[in-house]
């Protein structure tokens, strides 16, 4: 992996250059929240953030998008994503989430709608410092080696710029005059010191995360699920803010003239009441407890069985945004606590 350094003084120019290559998005502050929005220049950007409400998945699996338009004569596929979208300021957890989505949408049968958007997405990562809700240390997603095109590590007056792909490389070639190829001993020292500082900042951890798959398996019938099911609002927020949740519904919508229409994909949530209803109205998950169990077992257990890694990247969005405090930490802690109580294996 090629590495450069970039003086922060030239950062506005770098942004100008990047912006000339496509539509540029980055984290901006909106009242109490951050969001990836289109930016005009570097002054719009606010890198001092922990998480946007909706992650980078909004560029890859938007809440609603047309996959087909039709009329009396026939149908036509719609593939959004002709334009290059460049997103700057993406944290390692979100980059990991893209790797998970890539695996789901591209590794087996390739989803053409996702593929198109993914092909035209450029990811410029940015280093971050954790807040109390960040769990990426426990999920092993605090560092990222691939999945980005460029990655900027903020070391005070300058950035370390990692190149992660051909797309990233061609950006650095274009920005040749803004980057320095020299990596001094000082910058290596700075980097190591920064990493150590960052590592020491993680407060919330999930010591049990490693064995979560087994714990879920053993605790499938635990009362803990009922307790969470009673509290859950079935509002879907957890799924919609989770950067790896991608489940969707498909609906055909007919226009008022009844002569044309479109097919639309809509982000869905397995916590909604009709998620598992089949034709004939049989419901395989008729209550909140069953649906919540699906959400967490799928993310924290079944993903591991299928892909060797959980579907959680430790971004802390569910921790931050669930209105009733049901999240990967409270659920795994409760399940772990259950094991401790019954089997006296824990301290």
């Amino acid at each position: 992996m090629k590495t450069y350094t970039m003086d922060k003084k030239v950062f506005p120019e770098f942004i100008k250059l990047v912006k000339s290559k496509g539509k540029l998005f980055g984290p901006i502050k909106q009242k109490n929240k951050y969001s990836f929005e289109e930016i005009n220049d570097s002054s719009d950007l606010d890198f001092d953030y922990q998480r946007t409400i909706i992650g980078i998945k909004k560029f890859l699996t938007p809440p609603k998008y047309k996959t087909m338009i039709f009329n009396k004569e026939g149908t036509e596929d719609v593939f959004d994503g002709d334009e290059t979208n460049i997103v700057i300021g993406v944290h390692p957890c979100d980059i990991h989430s893209v790797k998970i989505l890539d695996r789901l949408f591209l590794a087996n049968i390739k989803d053409p709608y996702y593929a198109k958007k993914r092909d035209n997405l450029v990811i410029i990562g940015h280093s971050c410092l954790p807040d109390d809700n960040c769990l990426c240390h426990s999920t092993g997603t605090d560092m990222v080696e691939d999945g980005f095109d460029l990655f900027l590590t903020d070391l005070g007056d300058y950035y370390l710029v990692w190149v992660g792909s051909d797309k990233g490389l061609s950006l650095t070639i274009a920005a040749d005059n803004l980057l320095s190829e020299e990596t001094t001993e000082e910058s290596i020292r700075d980097y190591v010191a920064w990493q150590q500082k960052r590592s020491s900042m993680f407060k919330k951890g999930m010591p049990s995360f490693k064995y979560m798959a087994d714990i879920m398996n053993l605790n499938y019938d635990s009362d803990v699920w009922e307790q969470f099911g009673e509290k859950c609002l079935s509002c879907g927020t957890c799924s919609l803010v989770c950067p790896t949740c991608n489940c969707f519904n498909v609906e055909d919508i007919i226009a008022m003239n009844t002569e044309e229409g479109f097919r639309e994909r809509q982000l869905d949530s397995c916590t909604l009441p009709y998620y598992s209803v089949v034709a004939g109205d049989h419901d395989f998950r008729p209550n909140r407890t069953a649906r919540l169990k699906l959400y967490y077992t799928h993310k924290l257990k079944d993903y591991i069985g299928r892909w060797g890694q959980p579907g959680c990247v430790g971004c802390g969005r569910c921790v931050t945004y669930c209105p009733v405090n049901i999240n990967v930490v409270t659920v795994s802690d409760a399940l772990f606590g259950e094991v401790c109580e019954t089997q006296e294996v824990c301290e």
């Binding site: 609002l233 879907g236 909604l272």
Partner: protein
């Protein structure tokens, strides 16, 4: 594409007690208005046409809640003559704000207070019929489809309506306002200790209020998956009394809230 029948379905739009805002909302769907009147045979539209007698309609869109005996009789006649009955708007679906006065006893007292003469409530003209507490139409007849809203939104109404006039059955997939709110990428009021009824309210409004930084008051009525006890706990957590929380829920929640809280 699905070939609908050449013959245009006969539509009746009926209004009972409410503000008639849903009928108005239909007339206000400007880009759709011409198609609305040409794609189906609108035989009866209380607000837009003079009265016509119709023996039978394919689809009846029924707005408002029922609060006189005469309305109840008319509602049953509509059910008899319609293949599909759609409850249009929150009043028809869940009872609306007027459902707050649903209690029979306090209703009698209020009637006396407003209309009473020497402690007696006078006879009402046959034109209106004997008043009764307001209830949603689903309390009296089988409702095939509910399109809540106060008033209904075009985005929510059109896809369901066009399926119906194309001879198709719309797919039911209830979700709360929170889903649309997160589609819009909004922050959550409840997390900042502020009141919001998004989690217990039917979606369909595109989370327009939260997107404009205004809390959801629940005007699209109760969401089918709503967890009212948990919502009350949450509202108490942010400082409401249980009584206030229930009152807020009941404002638009109608019979669903009543039903859910019965055991408490």
């Amino acid at each position: 594409m699905w070939k609908r029948d050449e013959k245009k379905p006969v539509i009746g739009i009926f209004g009972f007690s409410g503000c008639a805002g849903d009928q108005l909302a239909i007339l206000h769907m400007e880009e759709h208005t011409v198609d609305f009147f040409t794609q189906a045979d609108i035989k009866f539209f209380h607000m837009a046409q003079s009265h016509q007698e119709v023996p039978k309609v394919d689809v009846a869109l029924v707005e408002g809640s029922i609060n006189t005996q005469r309305q109840l009789k008319e509602l049953k006649e509509i059910r008899e003559m319609a293949d599909v009955v759609v409850a249009l708007g929150t009043c028809a679906c869940y009872g609306g704000i007027q459902y707050l006065g649903e209690d029979e006893e306090t209703f009698k007292e209020r009637m006396k207070y407003v209309y009473g003469k020497n402690g007696e409530v006078p006879e009402f003209l046959d034109l209106v019929g004997q008043p009764k507490p307001a209830q949603p139409i689903s309390d009296f007849i089988e409702v095939d489809i509910m399109i809540p809203g106060c008033p209904i939104s075009a985005e929510n109404f059109v896809p369901i309506y066009t399926k119906l006039i194309s001879g198709l059955k719309p797919q039911k997939y209830p979700m709360p306002v929170c889903v649309e709110c997160k589609y819009e990428g909004n922050d959550c009021f409840l997390l900042h200790g502020k009141f919001c009824l998004g989690p217990v309210t039917s979606a369909g409004c595109n989370a327009i209020c939260p997107s404009l930084d205004v809390s959801c008051v629940g005007c699209f009525g109760s969401y089918e998956g709503a967890n009212f006890p948990a919502m009350i706990d949450k509202l108490k957590e942010i400082g409401l009394t249980e009584e206030d929380a229930i009152r807020k829920l009941k404002m638009f929640g109608g019979n669903r809230v009543e039903e859910a809280l019965k055991g408490d």
